[in-house]
């Protein structure tokens, strides 16, 4: 079985020289957000790491996550990380189909029971809507529960798997739930994002590959190495924010000069992700660099937090009508109080006269 080979074996089989291997390790350490001084440790660990068996189950999703991660052209270093794992089931990517694909999955699950890594993208419909998302006649809820029992750990790929994402957005028509809502007895690593930054997912896989452990997680189950700091703190436009220089519209002078996008609704200050450092498309750019505020896609329920273009500090204070009604109620109360006071005064005067 492929899973018994070490990663070093796989790379050598690819004809990778030692230089190439060290280059791979340097880029991997960088991907894992490790300091360059860790490269030799990484190299030693990768050399001897066993290829973990990975089963990837796509549920109620748009395949955007898979697209994002496979979009990089081969042979990339990300691609090699993927070659270093033994991806035993991914119904979009695998050559086999139908029953043969199912069999491959069952076989991998049996052979690696207790040891395989389960990757999930998409949320899971529940209760009366359970049957709204099925593969080969099995509901995704049952598939998740089955696959989770034998998994060493679960990686929720994308915001849907991690937090419910768009399917769970109000009014949540399929009673969609996230993986961590449904599975509570396994270590779960959330790699949210809509889609997640590909390098971050490969970084998480690399960490598992190299150290065989779950990375340190934040309160939302996200690896600290990538989600430890918010976008605002790592944003290259931050100096403009500090100086109070803002783009007021998407095409004004400020926008052209690359000013801060806070006024246009940037959610960078409350969003934790690696976009600002890792960037997208092999480090080419990222949303804020392309001139659009951060949408906060790696945060739970980002879809339901009001307009993407509403400044973060603008609250939901109500509207003029409610305030008007409040004022009227206040006036009525004031009138009543005044009338009461006058009545008392009068009464007192009458009593005095009497």
């Amino acid at each position: 079985m492929a899973a018994s080979k070490t990663v070093g074996d796989v790379l050598r089989a690819h004809g990778v020289s030692r230089r190439g291997f060290m280059k791979f390790c340097a880029a991997t350490a960088s991907m894992m957000a490790l300091p360059p001084s860790m490269v030799s440790t990484v190299a030693a660990a990768i050399e001897n790491a066993r290829r973990p068996s990975v089963i990837w189950l796509p549920f109620q999703e748009c395949t955007g996550c898979t697209e994002a991660i496979t979009r990089s052209h081969t042979p990339t270093l990300e691609g090699l990380i993927f070659d270093s794992i033994s991806l035993d089931y991914h119904h979009t990517l695998m050559a086999a189909s139908g029953q043969r694909a199912e069999d491959a999955m069952m076989q991998a699950m049996e052979e690696n029971y207790g040891n395989y890594l389960l990757l999930v993208d998409g949320s899971i419909p529940t209760e009366e809507f359970e049957s709204h998302s099925c593969t080969n006649g099995h509901t995704h809820l049952s598939m998740l529960k089955d696959a989770a029992t034998g998994a060493a750990a679960i990686v929720s790929v994308g915001t849907c798997a991690a937090y419910g994402g768009i399917p769970k957005a109000n009014p949540n028509p399929t009673k969609a739930r996230s993986v961590q809502d449904l599975i509570t007895d396994k270590p779960i690593i959330n790699v949210p994002g809509c889609p997640p930054v590909p390098t971050v997912l490969t970084g998480v896989l690399a960490h598992y590959l190299v150290f065989g452990t779950i990375p340190e997680l934040d309160p939302y189950g996200r690896p600290m190495a990538f989600f430890g700091q918010n976008i605002h703190d790592r944003c290259y436009r931050r100096p403009f924010y500090e100086r109070g220089q803002f783009a007021e519209t998407f095409d004004d002078e400020g926008a052209k000069k690359g000013y801060c996008l806070y006024k246009l609704g940037c959610k960078g200050p409350i969003t934790y992700n690696a976009c600002a450092t890792v960037r997208w498309n092999e480090g080419t750019s990222w949303p804020v660099q392309s001139g659009h505020g951060c949408l906060g896609c790696s945060e739970p329920d980002f879809w339901d937090k009001g307009s993407f273009y509403r400044p973060l500090s603008a609250a939901y204070w109500g509207d003029a009508r409610t305030v008007g009604i409040g004022a009227a109620a206040g006036a009525a109360a004031g009138l009543a109080a005044a009338a009461l006071a006058r009545g008392k005064q009068k009464k007192a005067q009458q009593e005095e006269k009497a």
């Binding site: 990778v16 960088s30 990339t76 998407f250 690359g258 480090g283 307009s307």
Partner: protein, 141 residues
């Protein structure tokens, strides 16, 4: 914010990055200076992973311009091209790992006498020794 027609689109090409973004260039140059001093005094090398530092458009170019071109330049092919070159400051090396499709997979600044990747690697030398011996044996010598 509704209606695509409401969004004015203007295509501009080759717009120069505004000068105001200095963000990380200057602090990085200072860091490099400290690392160079360390190398001279104690021989201790330093590696900086510049790909994972937040930079604005133009920042990387500005840094590269500041470091300039030195005397040495080397390339090797392994999992895509890698370019190693000395900057105008001796001992400051810029290492760019490209992947198979030409994208940048990693970018480091090494402050050292010789970057370790330039040297032949023990494993490769051993493999080379074996291969040469085999070749000679095959040729009947």
């Amino acid at each position: 914010m509704s209606g695509l027609s409401g969004i004015g689109v203007k295509v501009e090409s080759g717009a120069a990055a505004p000068d105001e973004i200095y963000a990380n260039t200057l602090p990085l140059l200072h860091e490099i200076r400290h690392a160079l001093a360390r190398l001279v005094e104690s021989g201790e090398p330093t590696v900086i992973d510049i790909q994972s530092i937040p930079m604005g458009p133009g920042d990387m170019n500005r840094l590269m311009d500041a470091l300039g071109e030195g005397e040495v330049r080397a390339e090797f092919e392994a999992l895509g091209k890698t370019v190693i070159r000395e900057s105008r400051y001796g001992g400051v090396w810029i290492i760019e790992h490209l992947n198979g499709s030409g994208g940048v997979a990693g970018r480091f600044i090494e402050i050292t006498w010789v970057p370790s990747l330039l040297q032949a690697q023990r494993e490769d030398v051993e493999a080379g020794l074996e291969a040469l011996a085999d070749a000679l044996a095959a040729a009947g010598n």
